[in-house]
Symmetry: D2
Subunit: 389 residues, 4 copies
């Protein structure tokens, strides 16, 4: 039992999980019976977790059908969302219904790239500049070395950023159906080791990462230059429908958007929309994504306009959506089932999932915006939500 | 069966969940046996989800003991983390071990407030300014009206933000052990309805929300003025320990921090640290938090310095940590158990949970920083991580 | 002659200026006859410059009449602008003409405060928090001490910002007709010295400034919390006029604004308008302002909307306009004359000047926006501008 | 006389200037004798100003010798600064002296580009993406068309930015010794007109500018991707010198920098340094630069580190320094003389001027940082500054 602290055993057996739970019960006097109720062989979690003790059971609700006209996602989709927040599923559902009646959501993955951005520090700025030129001149070799580490990763280009005596190289890769953070770390490390071996003049320090990727947090550079997928969802809502289904006027929604744009800009918000994070997080939890990427994926650009005929064009852009249909948590039992519901498990599916995610976000934006305007927001929470203190 | 699309039934029974799953199986031909394996009465999820179909089972791993010297969290804690990302638990565990050897982490909740920020639009800027004065003059009445909606919410103050003919009022509340977003929405709505009844001169438009809260996304205003808890974790690592346990030099870590600070600043990142989001998300998923709040909670300020004696002072500040130990998903079976492991379920526990969260984040920062410097990062992923393409 | 390098003489005589010019001529073989052509006693520049050698002669052009309905600026104003950029005066003039025909610009100073933000560093976060409370408890004494240094400065409040073991205190003052940076530095220093004498527990470091003011550079905190004056200018342009005078449609301008808002937000710009800096800089140079404050004063928030009747409401907000009508360069010969043209020299005039500045900015925004839309932009530069390579 | 309002006469004669001044005197009863004291033929100002009435006389002070080891600026420079702010010249002079004793400042222009960023709006995101590919495929022709408008402008590349149904093209040019904003506007307009003539599928709106340049305001995109020159100045200050000349310890200055970095990051400042704007503005006013560009040029990245031997490495980076030695106001009498003092008038001089500007900024940063630490800041203002209220 004295081995539990800072456990390092590679043991993913049910027996070891129980041992840990027993230890915890003894330490905390807590009843831990539900955590232990997983219905799969815990050996499956090898590569997904260490010191396994059981599972969190997170409720799944269903949104749909979501009508999508994507390049990869086409037709009606039922979307499983994992959340503990009342009203969330109902709200996205309401948006999905409106979207379907309006004719469906068009989705487009406009760019894709995953990054690792090593830092090279020199004796002075001039050497850093010279190194920048050297990297440009040797791009093809660097590419070969980087790509030698994986059958999937493709190095697209290397952006360069200069300050003081530093040069950040931002390696952009295609990573197939994996999110790819580990893949690009490995590839970039290999490339950098090759670079370092060439004898870089004036180099005083090297670091494989120094916040320019940017990983697990939002940054303007990610908004500008894509991290994961840059995906757009668009919907044109006929004038009559707004009133009928959402009980508001399209002009009023456009007016509210104008104000919300100013608000977001004024207070330094990283998303001028309402709550991209809600739908995305619930989808990520359901489908075995790296949920911490919500920190990056929840930023976005909402844009609407009133068409000459009075219809409302509504779009959302997610510049740094990080999703996978392969690797990571996607193969675990319930996660894989949720991906299967979407027809998104496995290879050549990642753009489809990205499109579904964007369409979902759009539903939530239309729905919450309408609710705020129609003042149905509080009452809706009172109806669906748990009674809170 | 034709009722499944845009389901609105309030039925949270197991039978209805099965009906929905049957419908899904029929639609998608997917095997959905794991989703259905929840071990509790789904009626419990009323208020947490709509259109319930089952659960996502997310692996839980154990970190600890984490030695914390907080005002609310004191002693050794075992922290359950829900994640599907290999290496994560091992990495936080390594940080926890170092922190304990170094004498433990000091944690402090330095501020607390939850917001709703309604917008008042006027005919012109002068009327908006006049309204601002009126609000100041009537603060006590507004406070009474707002607080009449809840036995918990306490209105602390109202910040005002002016642009064009607009005035945003940012209502700051204490919300007890709940995260409080719904509570403050309700209270603020009541206060605003009272304000509107007084006949506000020149008012042309009102909106209960217009991006100044800021909800479900990071903003500079939240970093400056706290959303949820502003919590600090601090650790002083003796010079000798750095080398022994982390295999690096404190001077090198401080140097790397200097570079990472510049990187984060340069690229417009909202966090100058490494990966607050990883630990926080895993803790949020385990303990029934509103995981979408990671979009707000993952921003932060990392600060280190070398002490005259060569020791390394390492601190993290989370300015907008949104946590709850009551309400929302905290009462669901596994979530409640995870809170119990931490001694954090129920009332008067929220500051304790905030302190544990901050201490956990600090462990992750120390650990990953060290790994990058010692170049153990890639190899560690190769050891613990799933083989990826 | 050997005294010229790093000159420290307090001598502001014409003879000394000539001596310095002779030295320069000898060093550089340049003809420096124009610099020497100032028409006032250089002793006047004591307090404005050191190592005086002569003057830069910057061309002045005239905009107006600008019709303003302010609380301080009322009526028609001719505005002298100092610039070397062709088209600038003509463009602002065009906007002024439109504004006058449209009925004039309403201006409002909605807030005013000048800052100094000292930093107190402690042993740990808890002591910093305790200090924060102490400062709140002793506000009145701190106020008295601060205000004892000046007959003008009034301490309004002290904002507090917490991170790690630090506490920034942001002292907000009214500073009369001076911009006030030196006044508030002196007052805050005195207040801090008093604080330090009380024996602050755990204090490890103090700095009178550490970037939280924020001085001579834009920051979000200044946009949120005002530095100098927060001033709004508003204009409603009748639908018919847009076409007649600006040759464009109001709907088109509102559409373009929607796009420009997205552009500014997307690329992380600190002003969603077009070129506030042009008019402000020219006004600052003409009237003896501290022109370096353009770095702070040029940020802003542009907001427009189409009224139900088709008229265009156009507003600009400058959240950190730093102007003075007393002190600094305002008393120098040509600068004072320019202030006199505006009726703005001396005491109790600063709000008037702030209103004129805002009205001017609005003219430039309307004018350039129209020009871009009507594609008159390039041709206008070709007409007025210097032939460039 | 009735022609003065909204004057449009192209008349740049002395007689017309006097007529305008007479009109102003009549309107305002102000004495305007100094404004009229310019010593050159006002016809020279054609292309620099409209509605000419005279000149602002701005005091010039001298800093130097500034010892620079640039690629273009080499040796000792005396720098004329135009300002009305007491202490400014003395402070930069103090920094220049320290820098010279320390061995001189190394300067490097690491990148250079001037932009215009037209916006293309489509029916939907997919068409916008397709257009992006088309632009890539036709880069060479676009380049030819753009460059046909000028013998100087060279189109380097076109960055693309995507959101919603929009595509911004950010054209990057080399512009010789001119700042180049007008040159690139003209070239880009020509290129866009060619593009538009090709019949772009789905195009619904075009705008030559929509805030992505970013012109006359700071933006993160400019910090990342250079506007004008990206220039670095570096200085290594021997440990002993800091104490001797600046009366402070290098370790203390590095510590203060660590705190100032956090402060700037925390409050959302666009420059983590102290006051780049002061020196730059004074240099810009003296040398006929477009001073409004201070809004862009005053942002920056300050980076310092303590070397193993205790020396202090101090660097500043200006990512968007916009300067010219040809065109604009550079040819006006006093402006040209000031450029001549620097040996920077005319062609092939712009990099030299950029290097001098950066070296100057570094002097100011070292000087003010030292003053704040040594608490000589207030007393220095009391000594040199004008007695203020």
């Amino acid at each position: 039992m004295d081995k539990i602290p800072y456990d390092k055993t590679a043991d993913h057996s049910r027996a070891m999980a129980e041992k840990r739970l027993d230890f915890l019960k003894q330490q905390t006097q807590a009843d831990l019976s539900h955590i232990a109720q997983f219905d799969f062989d815990p050996a499956l979690t090898q590569g997904n977790i260490e010191n396994f003790i059981g599972v969190a059971q997170v409720p799944l609700g269903l949104v749909g059908p979501l009508l999508i006209h994507g390049e990869f996602a086409q037709g009606h989709f039922y979307v499983p969302l994992a959340t503990t927040e009342g009203t969330l599923v109902a709200s996205y559902n309401r948006g999905a219904k409106l979207a379907a009646i309006a004719g469906g959501i068009q989705t487009t993955v406009v760019e894709a790239a995953m990054q690792r951005a090593p830092l090279f520090v020199f004796e002075n700025a001039r050497q850093a500049r010279q190194f920048g030129q050297w990297v440009k001149d040797h791009f093809e070799t660097i590419q070969q070395v980087a790509e030698s580490t994986s059958s999937v990763a493709k190095l697209l280009n290397i952006e360069q950023y200069a300050a003081s005596k530093m040069r950040w190289l931002r390696f952009n890769y295609h990573t197939g159906d994996a999110a790819g953070q580990n893949m690009v770390t490995k590839a970039t490390r290999e490339a950098c080791q090759w670079i370092l071996k060439q004898g870089v003049e004036g180099l005083s320090h090297f670091s494989l990462a120094a916040n320019f990727d940017t990983d697990k947090k939002h940054s303007t550079i990610n908004t500008l230059h894509t991290r994961g997928k840059r995906v757009v969802a668009e919907l044109t809502i006929p004038k009559a429908l707004m009133q009928e289904v959402m009980h508001i006027d399209g002009q009023v929604m456009a007016y509210q958007r104008n104000l919300s744009n100013l608000g977001a800009y004024f207070c330094g918000s990283v998303n001028n929309g309402s709550h991209y994070a809600n739908g995305l997080t619930a989808l990520f939890m359901a489908t075995g994504q790296d949920v911490a990427n919500i920190a990056e994926s929840a930023s976005g650009l909402t844009y609407t306009e009133i068409k000459p005929n009075g219809d409302l064009y509504f779009s959302i852009t997610i510049p740094s959506l990080i999703v996978a249909t392969y690797g990571g948590g996607t193969g675990l039992p319930t996660q894989r089932e949720c991906l299967s519901i979407l027809g998104c498990y496995g290879k050549d599916k990642v753009n489809k999932l990205a499109e579904i995610a964007a369409a979902l976000v759009l539903c939530g934006e239309v729905s919450l915006s309408s609710a705020i305007i129609a003042d149905e927001w509080v009452s809706s929470h009172e109806k669906h939500g748990r009674n809170r203190p």
